[in-house]
Structures are given as structure tokens and as C-alpha cells.
Symmetry: C2
Subunit: 503 residues, 2 copies
């Protein structure tokens, strides 16, 4: 495009600039420089973790940039580069820095940055799916990674099937919709009205909120979720499950599925899947396992015992954007029986599915996916795996699980901290209990934990989260940045002490 400062007033000039490959080249190089510098900066622990600011202020700033765009048309390539630079710097300075080693918060990883580069290829060229034709390579890489992960879980090659969708909530919804349709026969076409007795969904008492949500979405009703009590280690109690299913069967209540967890969100407890699958088999009930977080343990020789039995489930969800350290979103759904993929939906869309090539339905992702147009979400995973092999994922699981053990040891050694329990994976739940808190009421101690967390988070020094167990408030950390060291975690305790003395 022009290097002069003539305004791009004509629509055709605006379009030519926005689609100019030379501009992609120039702005792209700037982007890579800014990103590499940013990752180097935050990765070495400099600057804040979270750039805290009030929502209203951030929204005002974001809106002002849009209005600036409306008010003045861009001019030369140099002006566009300067504007791009400004917008990127602002964006990089106002977000959450997951790649900072002090990020020990939610189950969202410091993702492998190279995955983002592979993702960029599909984003810039807008590779999508719905039907095979629209994304032949996108479809192929999705199939390839689903096959490899499914095989690592222990599913039988050629017998299982799967897909990738936008997030764990959507993945769980998809699998539970399939289970609903299988359990209720004509539920898809006739709806759920007029059924008696009303069907239920049986779930881990601390299942992720998206499981109860699925019951709400699917017309089952959130009141129709039967919670299975937990053992003291917060795993599903298998004997209680057996009694619940026996009672429901006796009363003729339709059971959509049992939804187990590997692991459950609050403390990372892994359900005993082999025993649960045996109970489900005996009562002829669909077993779904939400392994969004823990499923990737199947790639670790050391930790795969935690997910023994995954291969016995009817459906499994595993998020590559959690413990495979991919950027959001890349959630996998697996069906032990591949034919179940086609039990999720029925639809007519003659503009999509070509009757002259019926064999293609097998490869048309829209047939099995809640999404129609879908991102090529597997690209980052496929690219990183092809470069580093599954040994990288094993290293990431082992390293972060080990780091959580070290954090637990630090908590145990400290007089003023209390770990809720020894972690099974990389989720650690704890409280800070300095001397002056000893005689306070449980409510005051709860409030202290929440206020302390908020102070630390807003300071940008560390990022951690909170949870509530048996009515009490706790601090909670997921070690999900592989570059977080034992020393960083020791620093977290000191940081909590510092802010605790001011809270």
C-alpha cells in the first residue's frame, strides 16, 4: 500500500489496506517482537501477574479505541504500524499474565507459546470445520490427535470415536446430551415433556458447575441431579452410588448417566473409575467421566494410575487447554463406542451435507458437534505434539504434579499455614492462619482468607484463587505454569504473610 499520508477514504482503499499481505508481514514482525519481549519479561518474573484495574475503567479505555477508529481513517503503512503497536502494547499491559511464575491460580495454564504460533496459522487463514470440504486438514489433525489421546487413555483403536469442541462445559454438555438421547429414546424429537417418572442425572457431589448446568440446559432440571455423597477424601462413595442406582432402578426412574470426576475441581480428587464402571455396568447406566483436568495423566507413566478405568467409561471429556498446556480452547470428547457420536443430533441441512457424497458424513464435524462453523482448534496441539512428542506432555504433568507436592511440604513445614490435604495432582487447598487469628470465629477466619486473597491478587504480586469446602473458605492454587519453582512457592507464603499482617 501507499507510504504517503493520503487518507484511505474510499471503501476499496480501506479493503485493500486491511487485506494487504505486505502489511501482514510488517505488522506480524512487530507483533512477534512485542510478544517475545513480553513473554521473556513476564516469564522471568518481572512486573505484575494480574494487571488489576476496575472493569469500568478498562471498558472506557477499550471503547475509546473503537471510537478513535471510527473518527479517523488510517493513512500510510507507517501510521498503521504505529497504531498497531500502540493497540498491542495496551493489550499486553492490561491482561492476566499466565506466563508469570507467580501465576498459581485457576486451571488455565501458562500455555506452550509455540502452540499459539500454530494456532495463528489457522486463524490468519481462517481454517474452519463443519464439513470436511471446508477444512480437510483441520479435520485430519483433529482426528489424529483424538486418536492418539484416546489410545493413550486405553480405548480400543477403531472402536472409539471423538471430537473437539470449544471448552469443557460444551464438551460435557455434548456427552451428556448423547447420554440423554440414548437413555430416553425419543427425547430428541418428542422432547422431555410428559415423561413420568422424571429422569435424573446422577453426579459426583462436587462435580463442576457445568454438570448441573447441563441438566438445566437439557430439560432434565437441576433439581433432578442426584448427588452421590463423597468419601472423606472427597471421592465418589461407590457403595452409596450402588444404593442410589438400585433404588432408582427399583422405582423405574430413568437414569440419564452417572457423571464421575477425574478429577473434581475443588481439591482435585480422582474418582475410583474401575469400581464405578463396574457398578454402572451392573445397573446398565451410561458412565460419563469429566476428566477435563486430569485426563492428561494418562500420558504420564508415573500418574496414569489416577485415571485407570477411563477406558471403561461410555464418554470422557478431556481439555487439552488444561493439563496438555494448550491455549484455550481445545476440549476433547471421547465415546467408547464410536457409533454414539451420531446419537447426539439429528438434522437436515441440504446446503451443508452433500447427498452426492454420503460417505463424507463420517468426516463432517457438524454432524457430531454442537458447533457448526468451528475453529481448527487442534492445530496448536497437533503442531506442538509433532515437534516435541507426547513426552513433552508427560514432562508437563510430572513437573507440575511434583511441584504441588513440594508446595504441600512447604505448607506442612510452616506453623502458620494449614493444607487441606495432600494433593493428588497439582491442585493445593490451604489456609493462612497466623497467631492473631487463633481465637477468631470461623466466619472471621473465612473472611480473612477472602480478603487476604483479594489484596494479594490486586497487588499483582501473586495470583491465587479461593474455594469453599464444607461451608468454609480456603485459598487454592493450581500449579499450572511449569516454570513456577519451589522458591516461587516459598515466596507465595511470604507474600501472604506480608499482606496478612495488613489485612
Amino acid at each position: 500500500m501507499s507510504t504517503s499520508e493520503t487518507p484511505l477514504a474510499e471503501p476499496s482503499q480501506l479493503i485493500a489496506a486491511a487485506y494487504d499481505p505486505q502489511l501482514v508481514r510488517e505488522l506480524g514482525k512487530r507483533m512477534i517482537t512485542l510478544l517475545a519481549d513480553h513473554l521473556s519479561h513476564v516469564g522471568s518474573g518481572k512486573g505484575p501477574v494480574l494487571n488489576w484495574d476496575e472493569p469500568s475503567h478498562n471498558i472506557d479505555l477499550a471503547r475509546a479505541e473503537l471510537e478513535a477508529g471510527n473518527a479517523s481513517v488510517p493513512r500510510s503503512a507507517d501510521s498503521l504500524l504505529a497504531r498497531f503497536d500502540e493497540l498491542l502494547r495496551q493489550s499486553l499491559s492490561r491482561g492476566q499474565n499466565l506466563h508469570h511464575p507467580h501465576y498459581v491460580g485457576h486451571q488455565v495454564p501458562a500455555s506452550v507459546p509455540l502452540a499459539g504460533l500454530f494456532d495463528s496459522v489457522t486463524t490468519l487463514t481462517n481454517q474452519v470445520m463443519a464439513i470436511y470440504e471446508m477444512g480437510p486438514w483441520a479435520t485430519a489433525i483433529e482426528r489424529a490427535v483424538v486418536e492418539q489421546v484416546g489410545e493413550a487413555m486405553g480405548f480400543r483403536s477403531g472402536q472409539f470415536g471423538g471430537l473437539i469442541t470449544s471448552g469443557g462445559s460444551l464438551a460435557n454438555l455434548t456427552a451428556l446430551l448423547t447420554a440423554r438421547n440414548v437413555a430416553l429414546g425419543d427425547g430428541w424429537s418428542a422432547g422431555l415433556t410428559g415423561r413420568s417418572p422424571a429422569p435424573v442425572l446422577v453426579a459426583h457431589a462436587e462435580a463442576h458447575y457445568c454438570v448441573a448446568r447441563a441438566a438445566g440446559v437439557l430439560g432434565i432440571g437441576t433439581q433432578q441431579v442426584v448427588s452421590v455423597p463423597l468419601e472423606k477424601n472427597r471421592r465418589m462413595d461407590v457403595n452409596q452410588l450402588d444404593s442410589i442406582l438400585a433404588d432408582l432402578r427399583t422405582r423405574g426412574v430413568p437414569i440419564v448417566a452417572v457423571s464421575a470426576a477425574a478429577c473434581a475441581t475443588p481439591i482435585g480428587a480422582f474418582d475410583p473409575l474401575v469400581e464405578i464402571s463396574e457398578v454402572c455396568r451392573r445397573h446398565d447406566v451410561w458412565l460419563h467421566v469429566d476428566a477435563a483436568h486430569g485426563g492428561a495423566a494418562c500420558l504420564s507413566a508415573k500418574h496414569r494410575h489416577l485415571v485407570n478405568g477411563l477406558e471403561l467409561a461410555d464418554s470422557v471429556v478431556c481439555d487439552a487447554h488444561k493439563m496438555m498446556f494448550m491455549p484455550a480452547l481445545c476440549a476433547m470428547v471421547f465415546y467408547r463406542n464410536r457409533d454414539h457420536r451420531f446419537a447426539t443430533f439429528e438434522q437436515t441441512a441440504p446446503y451443508l451435507f452433500d447427498p452426492s457424497a454420503p460417505g463424507m458424513a463420517e468426516y463432517d464435524n457438524g454432524m457430531v458437534n454442537l458447533e457448526c462453523t468451528k475453529r481448527a482448534a487442534a492445530m496448536g496441539l497437533w503442531g506442538v505434539w509433532s515437534m516435541f512428542g507426547s513426552q513433552l506432555f508427560e514432562a508437563l504433568v510430572d513437573t507440575t504434579f511434583e511441584r504441588a507436592q513440594q508446595f504441600y511440604e512447604l505448607l506442612e513445614e510452616a506453623d502458620d499455614f494449614e493444607a487441606f490435604c495432600q494433593p493428588e495432582c497439582n491442585i493445593v487447598v490451604y489456609r493462612y492462619l497466623p497467631g492473631h487469628l487463633r481465637n477468631r470465629s470461623p466466619e472471621e477466619i473465612d473472611r480473612f482468607q477472602l480478603q487476604l486473597r483479594r489484596a494479594v491478587v490486586e497487588s499483582g504480586e501473586y495470583y491465587l484463587v479461593q474455594t469453599n469446602l464444607d461451608g468454609r473458605s480456603y485459598l487454592r492454587s493450581t500449579i499450572i505454569n511449569p516454570l513456577t519453582t519451589r522458591e516461587h512457592l516459598r515466596g507465595l507464603l511470604d507474600c501472604l504473610r506480608k499482606w496478612g499482617s495488613q489485612t
Copy 2:
């Protein structure tokens, strides 16, 4: 990282390489070069549109790369760069080239490449949402673009609300779930069982398949979708709608919503929204408008009349990854009454939502979105808008709508082509009817269209799609690459003639 050829055998070495900012810099530069070259190549009409290959062959190739990754650990930075280059070249050579001017297929655009650069920033740093804390800037830019688009639609500032989600199907599902909950009172908690009479969803007879799917997913049942007959221009017949609603109300049948289209997929017909909203208001029924494709017309002075009345709907869906030319996925949901955002779900998730900061719920995206962890999907739209202003989107709408008129004129001028109707937007439906076909049966003519399309698509010369109207097969093109010219469209007719003589 090391420049030697020592294998990266240790887990810590693998992780250090995968997270090395210097490697991001080197590989990122290579990526930008390959992408700019690729966009320049396909943008100038070189090479095939679709790289057609059999699914099984593509899957074998994709899987072989994963196995190569498992078999050998990477070594020096140079080897990693060479491997990266190889994987990117393969990916770019096996997909669908939407930026090729001969791409005139589905409603998936040749996206603004610069949007992909903005997206890359959030992907490489893994900026997400669910709660405000996790993505303060991601949340802010989403709010800002939703506000601007909603205002352009005519919603009242401060009164409407909205959100962004992963795709039009999910967006329609979200809005219809909200409508269901509002219409049925305790449907969320109690489920849909035991209701009599069974509720219905009233929809445009040619609504996108995701609308009937939503009925299937939500427990309403696909049989409970009442189709409103169309006028001869394939818009919803308002008098028929009035009769249907009156009859349902008389019989006491609960009505979840009326789902109108702006525009409907098959030929791009825009429903008369002002009249429909009046009928819905009179019968006290929620009006939902699937404006996934056509909603962006509100940004064009010339074409906004097509979507007059959007601002009267209770909910509206508009995909920025269609006529705002963003890469997938960026689908917007709007509610005229912002309070309705909180009618979609109810949930408990103490590890997410902080009771010590209840005001934050307003900004916690997970409260209103089917997704929990969510990509910062607005980044590309916010960035491109901030650089070029809304006038770029107006230029894109106007240019592609105009090009479709030119294509229609070419079809009308040709003796051997037949347009189904004059397009209202950028979707054109037509048939190729050479002399030798004149005496064939309708079934043979249908088969010819499908076979011709398949031959052209697999040749890579052009990409177009098919549809079925009133039982007959048609060719169908969306002009959704702004660099497709009249001459390219004239070339499409010649291409169809060439392949038609061999079909």
C-alpha cells in the same frame, strides 16, 4: 536454548525449549514470512482454492507427524526451526484457501488477516475469560464491541446487554435457552418433564438447522418446532404467524419464542422484523432473531433497511465471523433487556465467583455464557475496528452485496444459467442448464448440478456449494471474499461450462 545437536532428553530440557521466548521469536518470524507469502500467493489467484484430498490420506499424514514427534526428541534450535517450517508448509498446502478470489462458497469469510494478528496476541498469552479477574482486558474489549454493535442495531444504550460466544449455533442456543427459561418459569430447576400441554418453538420454515437442534437440545423436542410458512420470496408470512400464535394461545400451549431470520441461510431472505415484532408483542411472545449472517447490515447506510426492527427483538444473534469478516469464532448475543442475561443460568461455583466481591458478577462472563473458560474472542474485532473504524465493515458489506448483484446480472445475461431470484444480500442461488439438459427429468437435472459442483470443487478451480429448495438441487455461492471481482465471477460461469461438458 542450545545450538548443539544434543537430544533434549530430560523433561526439564523439553519444557525449557517449549517455553523459550527466543524460540518464539525465531519461529514466529518464520511463521509470519510463510503466512504473508501464502496470503500473497492465494490472494492473487494462484494455486487451487480447495486442496482436495481423501480424508483417510490426510488423516494418515497428520497422524504420521504425531508419531514422528513421539519417536524422536527435538535437538537444536535449528532443527526445531526446520521442523516447524515443514509442519507449517504442510498445513498451508492442504487446507481450504478462503483468501483465494475463486472462493465463493459457504458463509465463512476470507477474514481480515490483521484480525488474526490481534487474535495471536491473546492466543500466545492465553488470555481467557470466565471471571473478570482472569481476563480484565479480554472482558473490557468484549463489552466495548458488544456495546458498539448493539447501538448500531438500534438498541438503547444502557438498557441492552450482550455477550460473545463460540459460534452462531451456540449463540442461538444461548438466546433460546434464555427464552425458554423466561417462558417456562421453573424449567431450569424443575426440568421440562410433566408439562402439559407441551411447549413449542415457532420458527421460520427455513431457519438454520441449529434452531431445530436447539429444540432438541433444550428438551422441547424437534417435533415441537412449529414452522411458519413462507411467502413466495421465502420470508416469514406475517399473517400466518399471527394465526399460529393466536391458535396456540387459545389452546394454552406455552410458546418459548418466535425465531425469525435475518437472513435465512438458503437464499438469504430477510424477514420483515417490524411486522413480526408487532405480532409477537400482541401475543406476548419472545422474539428471537437469528441475524448471524445479516446482522452486520446495520453498519451499512445503504443496506441497514434490511434489518430494520432488530432493535425490537428480545434477543438477536450476529456472527462477527460472517459479515464482519472476522476469523472464526466470534458470535454475539444481544438482549434488548439486559437483565435477561442473568435468566440463562443459575449456578454455584465457589472456586470461581468470589462472595467478597459480589459486584464483579456483572463482569464475570461465565455467569451469562454456556462456556466457562472462554477465548478472548473479541480481540480481532476490537483491534481491526480500532485501526480502521466501522467504515471498514460498511465497505465490506457494501462491496460483497454489490458483487452479488453483478453476479446475478451475469447469470441473467447468460442463456445457459438460471438464477433462483435476485439476491437481497451476498448469497446467490442458481443452476447451470446447458442445452443438452433441456429434455432431461428434474431428477437428472438435480443430479447434474451436484455432480458438476463436486467436479469443480475437487478440481480446486473454484469453490461453491449446493442447496435444496422445494425438493430441487441448486448451486449456491456466497460472495464473501471482498477481493472477488466481476471477472472472477464471469470465470466461474466459464469454469462450470467447462466441467459441465465433461459431467
